[in-house]
């Protein structure tokens, strides 16, 4: 397939809190290819957002990247200074956050907020800036952009605010866009509009998109490849269709079976127990306390990523013997 633009190798990001060291991301490796839509799924605390923040170098205190590599276009980003990272942020790698109400500055007009991004990276005249802002707002489908660009965020609805945030992220045509739960704060009909917009823009601009979400429905619709995370580690990487058809990791399979679907009723399977505490994560495979297939080996040793098929990797000792049910197969009837 096409070339890799970002490669994450054994990334470790820990948070040094008073209660102890939280191993939020603990040895995560995957790659993002040019022009693809990659899904990053997992429950809260699985480390999806921290992975994205590590790439952008915006891990909040007391968090720190303590190991691993993040290679973007042949360049390792780990260990770079703030000054060295600035030209990348916004220009090469951009991000859309979950809650547009708090990611836009309430004190500035929409025009100013987008202009700031432009001026931070490029020399542009006032007139050029204005034109570009107009272009961008039109691109993301804000009606009557000439008047709306002079308004403040509070005058926009949730869906419209997210469109502004998307316009701001795309201002400099980044090659890689992280969308961190971009529609969680929105209503379903507005969510569908924003997802359509993102898909459309991705195609037009040819960028790579990383969708971070816990919604298996959005993953199915939007992505071509998926990375499944659990408790700070990657447990499975596969093409979206393969993942839903033939999941290889017990966590992926139970997660799929636990999600209700609209087009039919099904028996919801339960993942017993709770998400582990990351200060003292379980030994061995992190999923073993909740896994019904776990044996002593799973308790002791940490499984490595193994290739189980074309573009399909899994970190599970027992993948060969297990027959797991996917979601695409109609196993209810």
């Amino acid at each position: 397939m096409s070339e890799t633009i970002l490669r994450i190798e054994e990334l470790k990001t820990y948070f040094f809190t008073e209660a102890g060291i939280v191993k939020a991301v603990d040895g995560v490796s995957f790659e993002i290819r040019k022009g693809e839509s990659l899904g990053l799924v997992g429950e809260s605390g699985s480390g999806k957002t921290v992975t994205a923040f590590s790439v952008l170098g915006i891990v909040p205190k007391p968090g720190k990247i303590v190991g691993g590599k993040i290679v973007f276009k042949g360049d390792n980003l780990v260990g770079k200074t703030e000054k060295q990272l600035l030209p990348l942020r916004g220009k090469e790698i951009a991000v859309i956050f979950q809650d547009p109400s708090s990611s836009l500055n309430p004190l500035y007009k929409v025009e100013t907020q987008i202009k700031d991004v432009l001026l931070a990276h490029k020399k542009m005249t006032e007139e050029e800036c204005r034109k570009r802002v107009l272009e961008l707002l039109t691109l993301v489908g804000i009606p009557d952009p000439e008047t709306r660009m002079l308004e403040f965020p509070h005058q926009f609805s949730g869906g419209m605010k997210q469109r502004v945030a998307i316009a701001r992220a795309l201002a400099l045509q980044p090659t890689l866009l992280f969308a961190d739960e971009p529609t969680t704060a929105l209503d379903v009909t507005i969510q569908a509009q924003v997802l359509d917009l993102l898909e459309d823009l991705k195609r037009k601009l040819g960028m790579s998109l990383v969708m971070i979400t816990h919604d298996m429905g959005i993953i199915a619709k939007m992505t071509t490849r998926v990375v499944v995370m659990y408790a700070g580690r990657v447990c499975e990487i596969a093409k979206t269709e393969d993942l839903y058809e033939q999941p290889r990791h017990p966590y992926t399979a139970t997660l799929l079976a636990a999600v209700p679907r609209l087009d039919r009723k099904k028996t919801l399977s339960i993942i017993p127990g709770n998400i582990p505490n990351l200060i003292e994560p379980p030994s061995g495979c992190r999923f073993h306390p909740r896994c019904k297939y776990a044996d002593t080996k799973c308790e002791q040793d940490q499984p490595k990523m193994e290739e189980v098929g074309p573009d399909h990797f899994v970190a599970c000792y027992r993948w060969k013997e297990l027959v797991l049910k996917g979601e695409s197969t109609n196993h209810d009837k």
Binding site: V188, A192, L195, A220, L255, P260, I270
Partner: protein, 330 residues
């Protein structure tokens, strides 16, 4: 589920006044039409779901039914008794009797449990308020309730912060069950929980219904979970019910354009089905100045001049399937 109705809502209306922001004078300049003349009934041992987007009036409906806020007008009957009259009557005993029958589970288990009380205190508080259980039996009953919702005896001495979201929601359920209610309103009980935990709570609610014969009003914006646990569904839009039908009927053959668009907008966790589309343009109008005629007409792809003038009534078009749309009748 039986066919006997347990709770009946008749022409319920709730407006919230909007005031101008004067310094000395406070003048009412309008009202939020939060719930605008809705009627439905909930049967014994049934789960009735109210769905809709934020601001459509689902939660207000729940709060008005429980008289946590006063209705503007309308009535609610429980077992053919007008409960609003009882709530207004001075007799405290009568009021408590109704309160014992109707309980609520809130959306956010982090906000609905007092952080300074132990689980035992939280679950036994209803016993103190209603006084229906002698002191010496309370502890035993707390253990029973904990077991019922899948927690252990030793959890009783702990504080809410020691629990995860799913476990907290279990505590909330145990508290609601403490007074042996007949009817529970669950307001988005799983939306703040993780996917793997959601299924646990949904299954728990289903099992409790079977063993204890409870009726539920389940309020949610998550259509997939509604399909999973409810028997009948009412779809709300801007304070009105636009469609009401049995769950399978509603999801398999929705008739109102809003319901259709809502269902189409939900992504299905199966990459082979890429059906979702943004059928609706625009956003929900302000409930302070709702559009004239059918409230959905500015966003409706089929709206005609008639829709802008006439406000359609909820009418039965098939057995048990009601919609409020002019087009469907002709």
């Amino acid at each position: 589920m039986t066919n006997e109705s347990y709770l009946e809502v008749k022409h319920l209306v709730k407006y919230f006044p909007v005031y101008s922001t004067g310094v000395l004078t406070k003048k009412q300049v309008g009202k939020v039409h939060a719930v605008d003349d809705i009627s439905f009934d909930i049967r014994k041992q049934e789960t009735f779901a109210l769905v809709g987007e934020s601001g459509c009036g689902k939660t207000t409906t729940a709060r008005v039914i429980l008289n946590l806020i006063e209705p503007t007008s309308g009535e609610v009957y429980v077992d053919n008794e007008n409960i609003f009259k009882k709530f207004q009557s001075a007799d405290k005993q009568e009021k408590m009797k109704i309160r014992r029958k109707l309980q609520m589970i809130f959306q956010n288990p982090y906000g609905s449990l007092d952080p300074r009380m132990t689980v035992c205190d939280i679950i036994s508080e209803p016993f103190v308020i209603h006084g229906h259980l002698p002191k010496e039996k309370r502890c035993e009953r707390v253990y029973e309730l904990l077991e019922l919702v899948g927690l252990e005896e030793y959890h009783a001495e702990r504080y809410p912060h020691e629990f995860s979201g799913g476990q907290r929601q279990r505590i909330c359920i145990a508290r609601a069950l403490a007074v042996e209610p007949e009817f529970i309103i669950a307001d988005e009980p799983v939306s703040s929980l993780d996917v793997s935990i959601r299924a646990q709570i949904l299954n728990l609610l289903g099992n409790l219904q079977k063993t204890m014969g409870l009726s539920y009003l389940y309020i949610s914006h998550d259509l997939s979970s509604v399909r999973q646990i409810s028997h009948r569904v009412g779809v709300m839009y801007l304070g009105k019910i636009v469609e009401l039908a049995d769950t399978d009927e509603l999801f398999d053959s929705p008739l109102h354009p809003y319901t259709q668009a809502l269902i189409e907008a939900v992504p299905i966790p199966d990459p082979k089905i890429k059906n979702i589309k943004a059928g609706l343009s625009g956003e929900v109008p302000s409930p302070i100045t709702p559009p004239a005629g059918c409230r959905f007409n500015p966003r409706c792809p089929y709206a005609s001049a008639e829709c802008r003038e006439q406000s359609p009534e909820l009418t039965e078009v098939k057995k048990g399937h009601y919609i409020a749309c002019i087009r469907e009748r002709t």
